[in-house]
Amino acid sequence: MMKINFKNNKGYTLLFAVLVSSIVLSIGISILTISKKEFLLSASARDSTSAFYAADSGLECAAYYDNNGNYFSTSTTAGPFSCADFSITKQGGATGSEYDPYEFNFQIPLGSSGACSIVTIEKYYDDDDIITTRIISRGYNVGWDSVAESCDEPSSRRVERALQLTY
């Protein structure tokens, strides 16, 4: 038995070669897997930042036109108004409720990258019966549907960031 074993050690080179190449292959694949995750992470940081500034743009647009021209004070106030070179006609109006009488919303495209924002403006009476405005802006890095003029085109890399302003 021993004798046969000593004589039959030719396969060792093959075993060694397979071992080395499989170790190198697994190292390569694991580095690639980690890098891919890092890549997706940094891409989501970039997309998240553009979604955040889309939300900020929508918020400032609503805040400006609420304070300059009272576009969101009543159902009948004038429109349209312009943000980001886009003419906006607000949707919504009187809710019929005594405590939160008005709710408006609009959607705007922001820039050429497809970023857009969905903005909701609510007028309500707070605990001290003072009329209060709440603006909620949801920004997206992509997803502007230019045919339907809405901010809801699905995409696998769509990121949402939202901002809320109450005054």
Partner: protein, 167 residues
């Protein structure tokens, strides 16, 4: 039979050796290339994350500059109105100075963060523009951070629409 075995045991022929080396080379070089590409993607991911935050840094500086202009009663874009698309500005956010070199300015790593002056030049350059879309009302801010990974030029661009909001 004994004779045949003896002859075959003398070792590899040159052709066999070359084939074996070629197979091993492919088996090692392939995974090593995968690993190298993975590391390159990691470097890109890191640089893209840094570039995104550098762009955000400048954007928040500009928004704060606008807020401060409104607070002290200056024109809301005072100090920013020369930063047009064809005439880009640069900002050192550590000391808060805006310059108008009309092109990207390299950033340097210092103890107090990325500055426009210093000894250790980083791979990042930054510029921004402020375009007034509606006089006294709306402006589009674009921050562009560019860097090179190897020989490839990369860019992160973020856009924000700011308004002359006076609550």
């Amino acid at each position: 039979m004994k004779n045949f075995l003896k002859q075959n045991n003398k070792g590899f022929t040159i052709v066999e050796t070359l084939v074996a080396i070629a197979i091993l080379m492919i088996a090692i070089a392939g995974p090593l290339t995968i690993a190298q590409k993975g590391l390159m993607a990691s470097v890109y991911a890191r640089d893209q994350s840094v570039a995104t935050f550098l762009a955000q840094d400048a954007m928040e500086f500009i928004k704060n500059y606008r807020d401060n202009n409104i607070r002290v009663g200056l024109d809301w874009l005072d100090g920013l109105d020369d930063c047009l698309t064809l005439n880009y500005c640069s900002v050192d956010t550590t000391v808060g100075t805006i310059t108008n070199p009309a092109s990207s300015v390299p950033l340097y790593r210092t103890e107090s963060g990325f500055r426009t002056t210093g000894d250790a030049r980083s791979q990042f350059s930054r510029k921004f523009s402020v375009e007034q879309l509606q006089a006294d009302t709306e402006a589009k801010v674009t921050v562009i951070v560019s860097w090179t990974t190897g020989t490839i030029q990369n860019v992160v661009t973020i856009e924000d629409y700011i308004f002359n909001v006076q609550l």
